[in-house]
Amino acid sequence: MPTTYQIVVCGGIVPDPLQSLEPVMGPTGPALKNEMMLPSVLDPWAWHALFEAADLAKRHPGSKVWLVSMSPKAKLQQVMMGLAQKVPFELVVVDGPASGFADAVETAAALAGAIEGIPDLDRSKLLLFGGWQSASRGTGAVLQMIGEILGIDEQFQGVDKLTVDDSGGLEILERIEAGAWQKSRCAGAPAVLGWATGELPEPPNNPQIGMQNMRGIMPALQQAKPAALSGEGLSYDSVESPKQRRETRVETEMDADAIADEIAAWLKG
């Protein structure tokens, strides 16, 4: 009998990477200037995780993918308009902040609660996917903590490749130092996989998948439970963009030999 999986992908939204970001200190702590006005995207590594999840589910018929996101639901709805056309998934929403300044502990607890609330989720077949770090907080913490809360203690981070063998064993490549991978074999689900880039290109838009997804997305957004994060125990003294601007010496007239001499001397110096 082929192995089937219940794949839960955790992913928040982040400001479009091409936007300029400026921190501001508010009464409740730091935030981004004009945060609600900034265009958002699904977190880049969660984006890869979602595509890997959909590909795995496609190769193992009977599997299913959920996308669990804690984000302001109005902004998440905008992101879903594009994302929904990529791959099939069922959305679960926690209406809460997507800020990089929120605490990982509280974020993990809210997301774990949402996953525990998924009806008929078979934990023995659960693969918990997500990005190995976010492009906001960037601690690489939330997925590990959700795994611990759900009692999953086979975890992998910086995953670039997952291969499933005939017995359901998982062979996994995790990024380590110096451009190498740690190769491991896990006996099977349940497991946590924090994805790096993976191996798949961005899927093309598929309007049929989009329509199918949107039937579930709008109710999920309407039913989103709010998560109020207290931020207790964490305080920020300051958050600032580095202001250092270098005085760049621009050489437009030097010939190649002179430039090469200068660079070689600089490298040897």
Binding site: Q157, A178, A180, S184, C186, L234, V250
Partner: protein
């Protein structure tokens, strides 16, 4: 408990502690001294004898070892179990380790098990008025924050290159037995790239190759083979580490000419690494601030490209050479041989 600082070091395949582990030990010392607390240490790995000769400079009050075949290779469940038991046994309020892949894999899980909090990739630590404050970057190196927490235990991972390595010296240790088993079997390490190793974290210089290398040149032709030779020649001659822009590694999926030895592992910037090297030379790179975060932690920066107004270099590099990188790099390579 709140002022007791636990440093955890993982040994490599030869039983030694690598430089980032000794840097994290300095951070732990700094925190313990500032808090007027006690520093305790733990070494986890296949063996610890050599490592015990490396950490004496920190004068830890006690040293615990968790060793054996089970810990000879990284694995979440066994590493987390070892660190959890050490942290609970020592009743540390602050837990510090290097932000390498091994501790990064378990840091948050460890904090969750301890009922504490976690902050990763810490770049500075100081104690003011008896309060520990740490610096870390947010939004992919776009902004830096100073934070403090009342939650304990507080698990911290220290970014490589943020502190000087601790002085060496020998210490005595007490072994700790940890019972654990896992459904995961480590199978070894695979090289991320074929051919020569081009990612060198300890290199003095980072060469960043941008997408311009694969575009049409002055003669109207693309010269990817020549570009590959020039880049690899430089990486070898200068013992440089090699990085690339996102657009460069994305070209393959777009069906364009690519440099085959560049992978996502080489990618620096917004969705890649921000490596630390004393010098950086960017070639044929273009883009604005979001892309330039890839060399946030490069001390001396120079760039070669054909656009004097390029946002990658203006205000971010010390020197911008407006020139043909093919011609310049060929001559640089001649001078380095």
């Amino acid at each position: 408990m709140d002022t007791k600082v636990l440093w955890i070091g993982f040994t490599d395949g030869s039983g030694m502690l690598e430089k980032p582990a000794l840097e994290a030990l300095t951070a732990a010392c700094t925190i313990a001294d500032g808090l007027g607390g006690e520093l305790v240490a733990a070494v986890v790995g296949g063996s610890a004898e050599t490592a015990l000769g490396q950490i004496g400079g920190a004068s830890p009050a006690s040293v615990t070892t968790v060793t054996g075949e089970t810990w000879s290779a990284p694995r979440y469940k066994t590493d987390a179990a070892a660190c959890e038991q050490v942290a609970k046994t020592t009743e540390a309020g602050i837990v510090v380790s290097a932000a390498g892949s091994r501790f990064s894999r378990i840091a948050a899980g460890l904090a969750q098990r301890l009922g504490g909090a976690v902050d990763t990739q810490v770049t500075a630590a100081k104690v003011e008025g008896g309060t520990l404050k740490v610096d870390r970057w947010f939004y992919r190196q776009r902004m830096i924050g100073t934070i403090q927490r009342s939650t304990r235990p507080w698990v911290l991972s220290v970014a490589p290159g943020s502190f000087a390595p601790c002085a060496e010296g020998a210490v005595e240790a007490t072994p700790l037995e940890v019972a654990t088993e896992s459904r995961t079997t480590p199978l070894g390490v695979e090289a991320g790239t074929s051919g020569a190793q081009t990612i060198r974290p300890d290199a003095d210089v980072l060469l960043v190759a941008g997408a311009g290398w694969t575009k049409k040149q002055a003669d109207g032709e693309v010269h990817v083979d020549v570009a590959a030779d020039l880049i690899l020649d430089f990486a070898e001659s200068a013992r440089a580490s090699l990085g690339s822009s996102k657009s460069m590694v994305d070209l393959a999926s777009e069906g364009q000419a690519v440099l085959p030895f560049l992978t996502h592992l080489h990618q620096i910037g917004q969705t890649g690494a921000s490596p630390r090297h004393p010098k950086g030379l960017a070639t044929c790179c273009h883009g604005e601030e979001p892309h330039a975060v890839g060399w946030r932690f490069i001390n001396e920066r120079r760039a070669i490209n054909t656009n004097a107004a390029c946002g990658w270099a203006q205000g971010k590099a010390d020197v911008l050479y407006v020139a043909d990188a093919f011609e310049v790099m060929r001559k640089v390579n001649e001078r380095l041989k």
